[in-house]
Structure formats: structure tokens, C-alpha cells
């Protein structure tokens, strides 16, 4: 029923900032505040090494969260990213070991990720299973295949050429950070400068309207789940290269932090709003907080609590901003 959604009263600020801009500014401000506070409290915080360290940890989280961000903007959800990452990592590591060709591993990781994403897309589009359950089911399937494939072993020891992606430096900056910046930039361009990117927002904001505007929503959705899988595959490569090993427990602990990074960044689960730069900020904030707690010698048992609090605060703040914008 539409009777209750009474239009808001006639107040309009002339130079109103878009809520999206406000969200980004607030987050940048928060990061700046924490940074200022920490550098006054701990001399080691503001060192280049520490900042690069934070960014490198954030970059791994960002990569997992980036595909998820696209899916969430389009109004979906992907719970399979963690297990997908595990599966990609295990298969690609085995492929590299078997062929001693890093390229084989890269192909396997990306291919496997895309395939899992495609399956998600088909389950959601064709079988009409809600994304929550389709991807939850795939989580178990992918995890199970990874267990079966690895049979309790760890695949380890890779060539320096491959490990460069995870632990190398380029121009003094760790490669994962470059990967984050490049994929982030590609993603931002994809979302803002391609028609498909614009369609992602439309279908997230109102799927029925998007369908009736001639947007091939089902195909776009499959594409996004495939991109989400692709990013899981890419993240898997970076993880394997970084850890120099692949084991079947690698991805599962990453799911909830990735969702948290998206939400803390300010992408709404209602769909239709958000962006990759915000997820980058979200990942940075979460990493920064843990780093801060460590530097301040706060016990590690507090980390989940603080993370939970940050998620709640971010959601409340965005709700307040959006309410303000609606008036």
C-alpha cells in the first residue's frame, strides 16, 4: 500500500550535499581523527611502515569486499565469497604446483571464482532462490569441495615471481595495495562511467522498475555474481602469494569482516546506493581500529566487540544522514 508513505514537507536546502558525499566525508573525517589521535598517543603509528602495513591489511579485506559491494548495490547478497576464496586458493595453488606455471594458477583461480559466481547467478535467476540462501548453500558446497580436494593437506612454497603479487613491493609500496588501487579505480569507473554500472544502481534501487525500463536485470545480476566470484578469485591469489600457502581454512573467517567493511563504508543493504571507494574507506577503518587497539595495547579479546560497535554506529549514522536528506 502506498497510502502511508506521505511525501515529506516542502523544505529544501539550496546547496544540499548528496547523502553519498556526506557519508564519504564523515568517514574520511573519522579516519583523520583516529590518525591524529593515534599519532599523538603512539610514536610508531605515523611511520611509513605502519601506514603501509595498515593499507596492506586493508587491501586484502577490500579485495574480498569489492565484489560483494557491487552485488549489494544491485540489491543482492553473496555469502559464498569466503568459501569461494578458499576453493579458488586451493585449486590454484595445486595448479601452480602441478604445472609450476603461475599463469595456470591465475587462470584456475579466476576461472573457479567466476564459475561459482555463475552458479550463484543461475540459482538466483532461474531457480529463484533468494540470494541469502542460494549463496549460503554455495558456501557449503564450495567449502566441501575444498576440503575434499585438499584432504587435510596444505599446498605451500611458491616461486618468487608468483609471490611478488602478495609480498612484493613496487615503488616502495606493497603490491597488494597497488592491486587494491587498480581494482578500486576500475570498479569506480565501472560503476560511474559505464551504462552497466548505472544499471546496477537502478536495479538495486527498484528491481521491478529496472525490469520495466528494459534493463536485462537477470543477466546483469549473473554478471555481478560472476564479478564477485572473480574478485574472490583475485583475492585468493593475493592471499596465497602473501601467505605462501593455501589451506582449506583460509577464506571462511573473511566473510563477516568483508560484509562489515561494506556496511561500515556506507553501502546500504537496501541496494541502489554506495560505492567502491566507500568500501575502501570501510576496510581501512576496520583495519585501522584493530591496529589502534594493538598500538594501545588493548587485549585482542576486545576486537570483535569494537568491530560490532563500529558497524552499529555506521548504520545509525547513515540512517540519520538519510533521514536528514529526505526532509
Amino acid at each position: 500500500m502506498t497510502t502511508m508513505d506521505s511525501p515529506a514537507p516542502v523544505i529544501r536546502r539550496p546547496q544540499q550535499l548528496a547523502p553519498g558525499t556526506v557519508a564519504v566525508v564523515v568517514r574520511l573525517g573519522l579516519i583523520a581523527c583516529i590518525a591524529v589521535l593515534l599519532s599523538s598517543l603512539s610514536p610508531t603509528f605515523a611511520t611509513t611502515d605502519n601506514l603501509l602495513n595498515i593499507l596492506r591489511q586493508a587491501s586484502l579485506l577490500f579485495l574480498v569486499a569489492s565484489g560483494l559491494t557491487l552485488v549489494i548495490i544491485a540489491g543482492g547478497l553473496d555469502l559464498s565469497i569466503g568459501a569461494n576464496l578458499t576453493l579458488c586458493a586451493c585449486l590454484s595453488a595445486a595448479a601452480i604446483k602441478a604445472t609450476s606455471q603461475p599463469t595456470a594458477g591465475i587462470a584456475v583461480a579466476l576461472g573457479c571464482g567466476v564459475l561459482v559466481g555463475l552458479t550463484n547467478g543461475v540459482l538466483i535467476n532461474r531457480v529463484k532462490i533468494p540470494p541469502f540462501l542460494a549463496t549460503f548453500g554455495m558456501l557449503w558446497v564450495a567449502q566441501g569441495i575444498a576440503y575434499w580436494f585438499m584432504a587435510g593437506q596444505v599446498v605451500y612454497g611458491f616461486s618468487p615471481a608468483f609471490r611478488f603479487f602478495g609480498s612484493g613491493f613496487w615503488l616502495g609500496v606493497p603490491v597488494p595495495i597497488w592491486v587494491m588501487l587498480v581494482t578500486g579505480a576500475c570498479g569506480v569507473i565501472f560503476l560511474s562511467r559505464t551504462t552497466i554500472g548505472r544499471e546496477v544502481y537502478l536495479m538495486g534501487a527498484n528491481e521491478a522498475a529496472a525490469v520495466l525500463s528494459g534493463i536485462p536485470v537477470a543477466r546483469r545480476r549473473t554478471l555481478l555474481y560472476m564479478v564477485s566470484g572473480l574478485m574472490a578469485g583475485l583475492a585468493a591469489l593475493i592471499y596465497v602469494a602473501r601467505l605462501n600457502a593455501a589451506e582449506p581454512g583460509i577464506g571462511e573467517p573473511l566473510l563477516l569482516p568483508a560484509i562489515a567493511a561494506v556496511l561500515v563504508g556506507g553501502t546500504s543493504l537496501f541496494g541502489g546506493s554506495g560505492g567502491l571507494f566507500r568500501t575502501l574507506l570501510g576496510a581501512t577503518i576496520l583495519t585501522l581500529i584493530v591496529n589502534a587497539l594493538n598500538l594501545l595495547n588493548v587485549s585482542a579479546t576486545w576486537h570483535p566487540f569494537v568491530t560490532g560497535a563500529i558497524v552499529v554506529l555506521a548504520v545509525l549514522a547513515d540512517a540519520a544522514v538519510n533521514r536528514g536528506a529526505r526532509r
Binding site: M1, P7, V10, T194, A205, A208, S213, P216, R326
Partner: protein
């Protein structure tokens, strides 16, 4: 104020307004004085005064967007009036929420259904009033279903009260909605177009019930734009236009023509029936189309034609355009555009030049959280940016052109579309298809919830489209609108096309005779 329309010149001054004419004969049950309500961009109600008497049917007459629905919402507590006074039995009261309205005995039969899909009929009828059947908090289901059957029996209905609302057809849902309102034993019963979706037989039952209620002293506010019902039922008739009361009569002192005159008003009086154009080649031909619901639909629309698709709410009109557009799967049938087959999928249809303006603008037409610009180019991205690269500057230019061409009242493309008035929102949906360069426009209730100003502009636009050689299919529940706009019309009943009316055969009576099962 976003609205840039000039207010309709002088309606209230020139028409015979006789409010409170019978004052003194009886104390009204409910009196509304100078009620006003505005939303961003539109004054929904401007100083509306109304008297509702016990034992009378007070018909409120007006076109789409005249303010009838807003008035009801104020009455039932869904909207809070910005200004004005409400008196109940001479005592000043405030209606601040549905509970207040219930407190003074206002019951409403909504046009948009207020049923919960997975509650059964009995539970829906007594939603919010279960206490009557509860012992120690536990509902006596048998008693509740018996009571529900009693209420339905008053309407001559024999529904299985255990059926979920979700499993009912539109007409049945409407009847349950009526039963729900009846069961409240309201002293003031508001009915918002209760016959829009039901058959003649069911309507007759309803009128009998209304007569009985009148005898019991219930005050009835009946909203309709069907002249036959107005004449048959109304003791008192108030005509609204553009958010204001323009005339108020007793039944015996007014002719239908006079009422139509008041309803349409000067602003539309100059707008005579659309001139027929020479029809061109067939643009759309549909042969023996069949879907899960529809049977045997065949129709043809030619270039330069405006064709109507009439029928009661729930007769399958929306399903036809959805099927043509490819939004619902076909079972059998051939749909040709310019004589050629095309894939029945919304994205292909869009590229082939079809346009669909959906019935429910907010749910299916617009992405409300997004801006005007994003919505206006939603259907045209493929056309504007053929290589897939999006250029904000191009999109903005296209959108600004549309804003000018359609006279959309908005500060700019960046404005959120939810902050626009209904009429301007509808223009954005239309603009979406203009930008897409469509040639066949299927418009499902194009003027629903739209004010008079925007309505005229939409009529003019439809005329322009036809003149430019586009084909237009219009669905409307408002028969004068269909007659005004269309060169000819198909009439539907029970998911079939039951008749075709040429330009000279088109009349309210002819349409209703076909649409309503005799």
C-alpha cells in the same frame, strides 16, 4: 514550491458553491472546515469544507488527482491535515492517527487493498478487532469465522473464510475489503471507488447494503467518478477539483451534465475530444495471445492511433500490456511489431521501440531513492551510450531537455525523484520513454494520482505522440478520459477481450455494458 502550474482560474468563484446549504435542518455527524494539506510540489487539499450527515450517502465526485483520496486519508488518520478544523457531533476533535479515526467510528474501504496476504478472510476482516473474540487472550476461531461468514452473507457472499487473501482474485479481495469495513459497524463509512473491480451483480448487492446502512443511520461517504452510481446513490454530492470543493448539491437539484461540467471545470472545458488522425500502418499486432491468466487476446494498433483498453480493475488490462512488453511469459500467441517478430523480453522490447508506463508508478515505474536524471535516462542508456561508456554530461543534457519539453517542476536532474509531486513523477516516467525513442507507448493509468495541470499536459503529450506517428495504447479506469483520448477501444472482462468500440460507439454506457458481467 515546486509546482509551477498556475492555479485553475477561478473555479470556486464561478461555480455555484453552496456549502452548508441545509444548515439548521440537522446537525451534521461530521463537519470538516477548511482542511488543507500540502506535499512538496502540490497542494493536495485547499480549504476543503464538507458536511457528513447520518443516514445519508454523500458522494464525492472528481477526476483523478482532484484530492478525493487525500481527503479520505485525512479522515481515516493516515494523513495529518496541515490546517483546518474537524467537528464530530458539533464537538471539535483532532484526528492524529488511525486510532483516533476508529474512535469516532470512521471505517474505510480502501481502493488500494489493506489486506494481509497470508491471513485468512476472517482474520483480515477482524484485523485489529480480535479482542471481541478473545477469551483470556486466546481467539475463539469458530466464533470469528462464524462472524465473518455473517458479514459476508450480508453481501450475499459464500466465501470460504479460511482462504488466504493471497489466494483471492481482485474482485474477491474488494468484497472482503467491503466486508471488513461493514463489520466495523462504523457510524461513518468511507468507500473509495468500491465498484472499480467488481461485477454488476456484486455492485447491486453493495447498493442494497448501502441502502440498509442508510436506514440504520450510518453516514456514507462514497467516492466515485461513475455518473450512474452517483445518480443512483447520492443524497448529497460534492464535486472536487484540484484539491478544492467546487460545488455541492442535493441530488434532486442537479443534472448529470451539470456535475460533469463542475468536475471537468473550465481548465479542461476547452479540451474537446481529441481529434482523430489518419491511422497509418499497423505498428503492433497481437494474435491469439495466451498467458497463465489471459486467454485469446488479439488486437492491433496503428501508427498515429490512440487505442483504449477498458475494463474493470482486475479484468486483465495490465496483464495484456505486461505480456506484450515481455514482462510476463507467453504460452502461445504471436506478437508482431511493424509486421516482424521480436523477442518477448523487456530489454528486447525496449530496444524494439516499446514503452510501458506501469500502473503503480512508485513500485514499478521509478527508482524512488535515485535522482530525476538517473530515472529519466533509465530506459535509454543503451541508446544514448551505444558503446557502453556512460557520460554524465550527455545524460544531464538529455535530462534537461526532457525537463524543459515535459515541463517537469524540479530544480534539476540531481533532485531526488521521491521529492517530486505525483504529476511530475509521472512525467519523469514518460520522459524515460521519450528518451528511449519509443514508437509504441503502452500507458497503464497514465493520470492516476496526478493533478489536473499535469493531467492536461499528459493529454497533450499523448496527442503529440500520436501526431508524430507513434502508436499509443491507453488503459484507464476513468471512462471520460478514455473517451476523450481514444480513437477506439478494446474492452476486457475476465482476462479476455470482450468487445471493440469504434470512435463513434465509444460511450461510458457502451464500455460498462461490455466490461461488467450482466
Amino acid at each position: 514550491m515546486l509546482a509551477n502550474r498556475e492555479s485553475p482560474d477561478g473555479g470556486p468563484e464561478t461555480m455555484a458553491v453552496r456549502p452548508g446549504r441545509d444548515q439548521g435542518t440537522a446537525e451534521p455527524l461530521l463537519r470538516l472546515i477548511d482542511i488543507s494539506k500540502s506535499f512538496p510540489g502540490v497542494h493536495a487539499l485547499r480549504g476543503v469544507s464538507l458536511e457528513i450527515h447520518a443516514g445519508e450517502v454523500h458522494v464525492i465526485l472528481g477526476q483523478n488527482g482532484a484530492g478525493k483520496s487525500s481527503l479520505i486519508k485525512v479522515l481515516c488518520g493516515a494523513y495529518l491535515a496541515d490546517d483546518g478544523v474537524i467537528e464530530h457531533k458539533g464537538r471539535r476533535i483532532a484526528i492524529q492517527g488511525p486510532a483516533d479515526a476508529n474512535g469516532i467510528g470512521v471505517g474505510v474501504i480502501f481502493q488500494e487493498f489493506s489486506l494481509a496476504p497470508y491471513l485468512d478472510i476472517a482474520q483480515n476482516i477482524f484485523l485489529g478487532r480480535e479482542r471481541a473474540f478473545a477469551k483470556a487472550g486466546i481467539i475463539d476461531k469458530a466464533a470469528m469465522h462464524a462472524a465473518a461468514r455473517d458479514v459476508l452473507a450480508q453481501l450475499g457472499l459464500n466465501y470460504d473464510t479460511w482462504t488466504f487473501a493471497a489466494d483471492l482474485g481482485v474482485a474477491q479481495q474488494q468484497m472482503v475489503e467491503i466486508a471488513k469495513a461493514l463489520s466495523q459497524n462504523s457510524s461513518i463509512l468511507v468507500m473509495d471507488e468500491p465498484t472499480a473491480a467488481i461485477s454488476e451483480r456484486e455492485s447491486e448487492r453493495l447498493f442494497e447494503v448501502i441502502a440498509r446502512l442508510k436506514q440504520r443511520g450510518v453516514a456514507i461517504v462514497y467516492i466515485s467518478h461513475r455518473m450512474r452510481e452517483v445518480v443512483a446513490l447520492g443524497d448529497r454530492i460534492t464535486v472536487m477539483r484540484d484539491g478544492a470543493v467546487v460545488a455541492s448539491y442535493r441530488r434532486d437539484e442537479v443534472s448529470p451534465d451539470e456535475m460533469v461540467g463542475a468536475m471537468i471545470g473550465r481548465s479542461l472545458a476547452g479540451l474537446k475530444r481529441r481529434e482523430a488522425l489518419a491511422a497509418g500502418a499497423p505498428v503492433l499486432t497481437v494474435t491469439n495471445l495466451q498467458t497463465a491468466k489471459l486467454t485469446d487476446i488479439s488486437l492491433e494498433i496503428r501508427a498515429g492511433e490512440v487505442v483504449g483498453l477498458a475494463g474493470l480493475v482486475g479484468s486483465g488490462r495490465t496483464e495484456v500490456v505486461r505480456a506484450i512488453f515481455g514482462a510476463d511469459p507467453l504460452r502461445t500467441g504471436v506478437i508482431r511489431l511493424d509486421g516482424a517478430d521480436f523477442a518477448q523480453r523487456p530489454d528486447r522490447s525496449t530496444r524494439a521501440g516499446l514503452a510501458l508506463l506501469p500502473e503503480d508508478r512508485k513500485r514499478e515505474g521509478l527508482a524512488l531513492p535515485l535522482a530525476v536524471g538517473e530515472n529519466a535516462t533509465a530506459a535509454a542508456l543503451w541508446r544514448l551510450f551505444r558503446r557502453g561508456w556512460f557520460a554524465p554530461s550527455v545524460a544531464e543534457k538529455v535530462c534537461r531537455n526532457l525537463i524543459t519539453r515535459l515541463n517537469i517542476a524540479t530544480p534539476g536532474p540531481a533532485q531526488f525523484v521521491r521529492n517530486l509531486s505525483g504529476g511530475n513523477q509521472q512525467k519523469v516516467v514518460l520522459g524515460k520513454w521519450l528518451a528511449a525513442g519509443s514508437r509504441l507507448f503502452m500507458l497503464d493509468e497514465p493520470t492516476r494520482g496526478v493533478d489536473i495541470g499535469a493531467k492536461t499536459e499528459i493529454y497533450r503529450l499523448i496527442d503529440d505522440l500520436a501526431k508524430d506517428g507513434a502508436a499509443v495504447l491507453v488503459i484507464s479506469s476513468e471512462l471520460p478520459e478514455l473517451i476523450h483520448l481514444c480513437d477506439r477501444a478494446y474492452v476486457m472482462r475476465d482476462y479476455r477481450i470482450v468487445g471493440h468500440l469504434g470512435r463513434n460507439e465509444l460511450s461510458e454506457k457502451a464500455i460498462l455494458d461490455l466490461a461488467v458481467h450482466q
